[in-house]
């Protein structure tokens, strides 16, 4: 069984990344279940997608990942990475973008929310154990690739996570799934972004 939790903020493409991962797994013939939070949570709220794959031919019952059993947590925003921390299994990979998305409440909050603090806190929490922590400087990647690549952040982080080699899926399988799931006009852009991100963080 492979469990992958994707976390982000509404509009970041968390759900599409989950779909790509599910397709990659289904191409292997694995049973797959996914679930996502939608509804009121969508309006500026946090979105999580759960992807569960029966990689050893076992039956997948629940659509939701039990905390403490996620092989990979892929966060498109550092605060959401911290929120998803309890899901990570021992030996798991946490990949997170390092750019914060400030909610409307931040402007009124007394204690500031700073991405740097969160990334440092995560590094601290994950140090020493069997965990693998991969903070991705997404702002730098966007700068190198051009502004439009922000739309590819979801695919870049998914590819970086798979490239860590801790789950039995390959980068080529992810790329094939991108070709199958993403609108044709965006495929090339996403593949280029994936290669660039993996070169930097693979």
């Amino acid at each position: 069984m492979i469990n992958v939790l994707l976390a982000g903020v509404g509009g970041q493409g968390t759900v599409l990344a989950a779909k790509v991962l599910a397709s990659a797994a289904a191409a292997r013939g694995w049973q797959v279940r996914t679930a996502e939070t939608i509804g009121m949570a969508q309006r500026g709220g946090n979105v999580t997608s759960h992807v569960r794959m029966g990689s050893d031919g076992e039956e997948v019952f629940s659509p939701l990942i039990t905390p403490g059993t996620a092989d990979m947590v892929i966060a498109l925003e550092p605060g959401e990475a911290a929120r998803a921390l309890p899901y990570l299994a021992s030996g798991g990979v946490l990949v997170t973008a390092t750019t914060a998305i400030q909610p409307v409440t931040a402007a009124l909050a007394s204690v500031p929310y700073r991405a740097g603090d969160v990334v440092a806190g995560l590094a601290d929490a994950l140090q020493g154990g069997s965990f693998l922590f991969v903070p991705v400087d997404d702002a730098a990647l966007m700068h190198e690739l051009g502004g439009a690549s922000r739309k590819s952040l979801n695919m870049m982080l998914l590819a970086v996570a798979v490239a860590q080699g801790r789950v039995p899926l390959t980068l080529d399988e992810v790329k094939s799934a991108v070709e199958a799931c993403v609108k044709p006009q965006f495929v090339a852009m996403n593949l280029e972004a994936i290669d660039h991100a993996v070169a930097a963080y693979g």
Partner: protein, 652 residues
């Protein structure tokens, strides 16, 4: 057959189409909406043929449309969220007495949590109250099979049948093999057969009640014995050696969680060299009428049973009844004994913890509770620092923001009660707008305001209602105000869509799910027809005009209305973002504290001649829609954006 990753609701649409459904009607509501949308999309793509699909004005209208179609032999599918069934209940109660002809299935999505609903009502309970059989899927795949079985069951007994998934089934996805093209089943050539049985007089109701009681007994037998239905009630065994003495009864998604929890406990116990008792599990997919024979066979030899289900204690009470009727020495644990959650969602880790305690207490195992608490559902990692709270808010550029702000400005210095309603505009409740004092149910704000006016005549009452809710359930309330002469103001927030549930069309848009365009029903014509004597108009992006129009409506004696008209931002291209003039911004935060738009933030590090060390506001260009409400709120002219006064709101 193509294999596709489908969300539960999408899969249920395919299942109904493959079952030859002829008419699909419903009213949007999370977590049910995607079913009707999928049927409409497949119809538009030419894949779903010979099917009529519509968003009806409300749930009652939808079910009555379907009752008529079913009487003619058409297969009919109704969809709504759990509270929608309250609206349709008048039709459902009588329809069950009269009976149906073509298969009539009600897809009613429950929302444990609740995640996006106003109640945690249990449609299994509603089914029992209405005496209508109900199917309760534990996975999207099972729901797919149930949808087809439900049509057959409905026609076998001329009964409506409810299929009741919950949010985690509706919004979970897996791969399905679906037909590339579907056709509605040909209608019977004899058509509607006139017969006194379709007319519900008291004598007919007495006769119908007997038919209902007889068929429920037969359906319970089918649930126990007919393979097409009995397969939805599964018994599995596991754990240690020997005949099980303890059992687990589950329903809905809790069946999946319990299977998951048992697997986790067994894995951890093996690793810790602890033993798990032999157990037997019954997953009930047909909760009403309860499959008592199946449950009795399951209970054979058991001393203790724990029940995991969300919402009400429906299965638990059935097990208690079974133990009583059959004099079983069976202890039943669950919500009623505090052994299971009394509300909200279940989880695999929660069930694992409760199972550990249950096993230790009833089977003499030692340490399973402790083991589950230590190893399941926790990794001991934590981040202690502050994390951003992300409550749902009105989008940047949402026209509702200007409407609420204008009404509050117009009411300054006066005591007022602001009655809200169900939709995106319920979010007007949040700070800093703070413009929703009450919210009860669809359309209630309109009529509740009238009660406030009677009880507290010294105050002003303003009821906010959206355009879709206006057609769904506000019109009778407005007639009541005119008839009984209540001095209230209706603020109709017309954003030309049903925004909260994902931009569905409605009678005011003139667009239907079948792709037709007809003359929209015009809100002001309805108001005029109902006898509302003052009808004002405003563009909510134009602050001055909106405040003036709101003031005029509020000052009017008697029922009055103001229509705030501007499209939902999801329907239009964003305008150029506003710009903060760093030379003029004083850092006063008025733009933030007055209207709370997610497109504006505050940066304590920014400096300018007027702001000193205070910092300045900044615009998030990726979010700003360019509505320029903030520019009109800023007292220092420090925000530059094109004012939208040119498109002043007006009559259609």
């Amino acid at each position: 057959m193509a294999k596709k990753l489908l969300m539960g609701n999408e899969a249920f649409a395919h299942a109904a189409l493959e079952a030859g459904v002829n008419v699909v009607a419903g009213y949007p509501g999370t977590p049910s909406s995607e079913l009707v949308e999928t049927v409409a999309k497949l119809h538009a793509d030419g894949a779903a043929r010979d099917v009529h699909v519509e968003w009806s004005t409300n749930e009652k209208a939808a079910l009555e449309v379907l009752a008529g179609a079913s009487y003619c032999g058409a297969r009919a599918l109704f969809t709504c969220k759990q509270v929608g069934l309250n609206v349709a209940s008048d039709a459902l109660m009588s329809l069950n007495y009269v009976g149906v002809r073509g298969g009539c299935v009600l897809f009613v999505a429950d929302d444990p949590g609740p995640i996006s609903s106003q109640t945690e009502q249990d449609t299994r309970r509603f089914a029992a109250f209405a005496k209508v059989p109900v199917l309760d899927p534990s996975t999207p795949d099972e729901g797919f099979a149930m949808m087809k079985a439900a049509f057959d069951l409905s026609e076998r007994y001329d009964t409506p049948v409810i299929v009741r998934p919950t949010t985690r089934i509706c919004h979970a996805s897996t791969f399905f093999e679906v037909e590339p093209e579907t056709h509605g089943r040909p209608l019977p050539e004899d058509g509607f057969q006139k017969n006194p049985k379709w007319v519900i007089f008291p004598k007919r109701a007495y006769e119908g009640h007997g038919q209902i009681n007889r068929r429920l007994a037969r359906i319970a037998w089918d649930y126990d014995n007919d393979p097409a239905l009995a397969r939805f009630n599964q018994v599995v065994e596991g754990g240690g050696e020997g005949a099980p003495r303890v059992g687990i009864v589950t329903g809905g998604v809790s069946s999946a969680y319990a299977r998951e929890a048992l697997a986790l406990i067994e894995r951890e116990a093996a690793a810790a060299d602890l033993s798990v008792p032999a157990w037997r599990l019954l997953a009930v997919g047909t909760p009403y009428p309860f499959p008592a024979e199946t449950a009795a066979a399951f209970a054979e030899g058991l001393t203790d049973v724990i029940v995991f289900e969300e919402l009400d204690s429906v299965l638990e009470e059935e097990m208690l009844k079974l133990a009583g009727v059959r004099h079983l020495s069976l202890r039943v644990h669950g919500k009623l004994t505090g052994a299971a959650n009394d509300r909200g969602e279940n989880t695999a880790e929660g069930i694992a913890g409760r199972l550990g305690r249950f096993f230790d207490r009833t089977s003499g195992t030692d340490g399973l509770a402790d083991l589950a608490a230590r190893t399941i559902g926790a990794n001991h990692l934590s981040y202690e620092g502050p994390l951003p709270v992300r409550p749902p808010v009105l989008c940047a550029g949402c026209p509702h923001r200007g409407s609420f702000y204008a009404v509050k400005q117009a009411l300054r210095g006066r005591e007022a009660v602001l009655c809200g309603d169900i939709g995106c505009y319920t979010l007007g409740n949040a700070q800093p707008l703070d413009a929703v004092d009450t919210c009860l149910c669809m359309g209630a704000g309109i009529t509740m305001a009238q009660g406030f006016a009677v009880a507290e005549p010294g105050k002003k009452q303003v009821a906010f209602v959206g355009d879709s809710t206006f057609f769904a359930s506000a019109i009778t309330g407005i007639a009541n105000a005119v008839y009984n002469g209540h001095d209230v103001t209706f603020a109709i927030l017309d954003n030309a869509t049903t925004a909260m549930t994902g931009s569905q069309p409605h009678p005011g848009t003139g667009v239907t799910l079948m792709g037709e365009r007809r003359r929209p029903i015009v809100i002001e014509e309805v108001l005029h027809g109902l006898g509302v004597q003052h009808i004002g108009f405003a563009n909510p992006h134009s602050l001055e005009g909106s405040v003036a129009a709101a003031r005029a409506a509020i000052d009017f004696e008697g029922p009055s209305a103001i229509i705030f008209r501007a499209p939902c931002i999801q329907l239009k291209k964003p305008d150029a973002p506003v710009v903060i003039n760093a030379e003029a911004c004083t850092g006063c935060k008025k733009c933030i504290t007055a209207i709370g738009c997610p497109g504006i933030g505050f940066d304590a590090a920014r400096r300018g001649p007027k702001s000193g060390e205070r910092g300045q506001a900044f615009v998030d260009e990726s979010l700003c829609d360019g509505c320029s409400l903030c520019a009109q709120v800023c007292p220092f002219g420090a925000i530059e954006g094109a004012p939208k006064a040119a498109e002043e709101g007006g009559a259609r």
